[in-house]
């Protein structure tokens, strides 16, 4: 791994994003608009907004990053630039970390906006610090990025990449505790939700909301999110082959 190369990749991904105004809007504005819409839906009912707000603060960045990353990296694979890069003195880790770094930077901006909006303007009740909320939110976005990098290896077209959304993300959304508390799920489904990373992302957000300090549960949840992201990145690295058929 060479920091020069990692940073070159991150800088390049950000430069590409800057040109793509629609994607920037999707990354930065759409989560905020959705959260505002939610607040509006539960017109005046602060209780409901307080209970669904934090999970959605975890879910939106995860989904958006998953989608954008899987399509972007797929484009890299199919355009021949990946083959070219891998024939150059570039480590696989440089490429993956470069991507992760670029999207983490975007995730930070996205989280600051979303947290600022929900906590600042819409009055969401949070015991924990805004900083903790932002950190957890960025980590969720990085998890989405890492999974997106990984699944892009299994798609051949952008159309196929998008299909991973309903296949891999929606089940996590259903089981993450947003609709039914996880401990109220049938035993089998609860066990399934125990191994889905998004469950921990939502749990972490709820922890931050409920407690003003880093509880041991929060530490555990955050470790699982970080560990899953790292695992997905390593699996992603394994799918990058310098030699292909």
């Amino acid at each position: 791994m060479t920091p020069r190369v990692t940073l070159a990749v991150a800088g390049r991904v950000l430069a590409q994003l800057r040109r793509d105004h629609r994607t920037v809007a999707m990354l930065l504005v759409v989560p905020c608009v959705l959260l505002a819409l939610l607040w509006w839906m539960f017109d005046g009912n602060a209780g409901i907004f307080n209970s669904v707000g934090p999970p959605l603060l975890a879910i939106f960045p995860f989904i958006v990053m998953f989608l954008v990353t899987s399509v972007t990296t797929l484009r890299e694979r199919s355009s021949g630039t990946l083959e070219r890069l891998l024939s150059m003195p570039m480590g696989k880790a440089d490429l993956l970390l470069g991507y992760a770094l670029a999207f983490a930077a975007v995730a930070l901006a996205q989280s600051l906006l979303a947290v600022g909006l929900t906590v600042g303007a819409l009055g969401m009740d949070v015991q924990g610090s805004v900083l903790t909320l932002t950190v957890v939110s960025v980590l969720n976005a990085v998890l989405g990025t890492a999974l997106g990098l990984f699944v892009s290896a299994f798609a051949e077209t952008e159309f196929q990449a998008v299909q991973f959304m309903p296949a891999l993300v929606l089940p996590q959304l259903l089981l993450c505790g947003l609709f039914v508390p996880r401990d109220a799920l049938p035993a089998v489904l609860e066990a399934v939700s125990d191994v889905l990373p998004l469950s921990y992302a939502v749990a972490a957000m709820r922890e931050v909301q409920a407690a003003s300090s880093w509880t041991s549960d929060l530490v555990l949840d955050v470790s699982v999110i970080g560990g899953s992201a790292l695992l997905a990145l390593m699996l992603g690295a394994a799918t990058l082959r310098r030699r292909t058929a």
Binding site: R4, V5, A8, V9, G11, R12, A15, Q16, R19, D20, S79, G80, T81, E83, R84, L85, L86, S87, M88, P89, M90, R242, R243, T244, A245
Partner: protein, 259 residues
């Protein structure tokens, strides 16, 4: 020349792609400091051979040695410049942004960006988005990227497709300039009229080396006026089988001619 070891030395290379044997048993060498043309019909295995030399192709057997090391070795990644058949540059970045990025990856000097831009004659388009360039311009950006790190071996898969005669002449002049500086070039093409611009030719059909040698020797060997006819003559030889004998500039099954 004779005592210099080859830049690329391939023996008994076997490549299977998607269940079909593309290169059954290919052996050839590419001399250093020359422009070698890789010619042959579409689907003959040119790109596959090139990929094997660059070290991005899975191979089923044989050896490919590049600049004295096994193809794909980490040390070779700085010494081999590769241009894929489809331009592999970022359409949503400008020409300069593309070149700067690859220069950073290669650890090349930033000044190299200006140099290669001039070499491919794209100075006026430095700030244009690659996605808004013509096909030929785009492939020249791709070529410029390969020139960045001043690699010892340049492997170019159809770099002159879609270019007008003037540009093609200029690029071939560039290739010979580079060869004169001691670099080795392997340039694929299925345009036979480019054959005469090469120092040496490698004719490939159905994954087999039909012939290798200088354009002149090849015409002599077949009694043809141009390479296209020489190529057809070689194909039409009844019962023709590829054969390999070391040290002969031209080898076809039934005839050997010195250059």
């Amino acid at each position: 020349m004779a005592n210099k070891s080859p830049a690329v030395d391939i023996s008994h290379l076997r490549v299977v792609r998607g269940g079909r044997t593309v290169l059954p048993d290919l052996s050839c060498t590419i001399p250093p400091g020359q422009v070698t043309g890789l010619l042959g019909p579409s689907g003959g295995g040119k790109s596959t051979l090139i990929r094997a030399i660059v070290g991005v192709q899975k191979v089923q057997g044989g050896t490919v040695e590049v600049l004295g090391q096994p193809a794909g070795s980490a040390a070779l990644r700085r010494q081999v410049g590769y241009v894929t058949q489809a331009p592999s540059v970022y359409a949503d970045l400008t020409v300069t942004e593309n070149l700067r990025f690859f220069a950073r990856v290669l650890g090349a000097r930033t000044a190299a960006v200006g140099t290669v831009l001039d070499q491919v004659d794209l100075g006026h388009y430095a700030d244009s988005l690659v996605g808004r360039l013509s096909g030929g311009q785009r492939s020249r950006v791709s070529l410029a990227v390969a020139l960045l790190g001043e690699p010892q071996l340049l492997v170019l898969d159809e770099p002159t497709v879609g270019l007008d005669p003037v540009l093609r002449r200029d690029l071939w002049a560039l290739f010979h300039d580079l060869a004169a500086k001691g670099r080795t070039l392997l340039v694929s093409s299925h345009v036979m009229d480019e054959a005469d611009r090469c120092d040496r030719l490698l004719l490939l059909r159905d994954g087999q080396v039909l012939a290798e040698g200088t354009p002149h020797a090849l015409r002599e060997a077949t009694g043809a006026d141009d390479i296209e006819s020489a190529f057809l003559a070689l194909i039409n030889r009844v019962g023709w089988q590829p054969d390999r004998q070391n040290g002969t500039p031209v080898r076809t099954r039934d005839k050997e001619v010195a250059p």
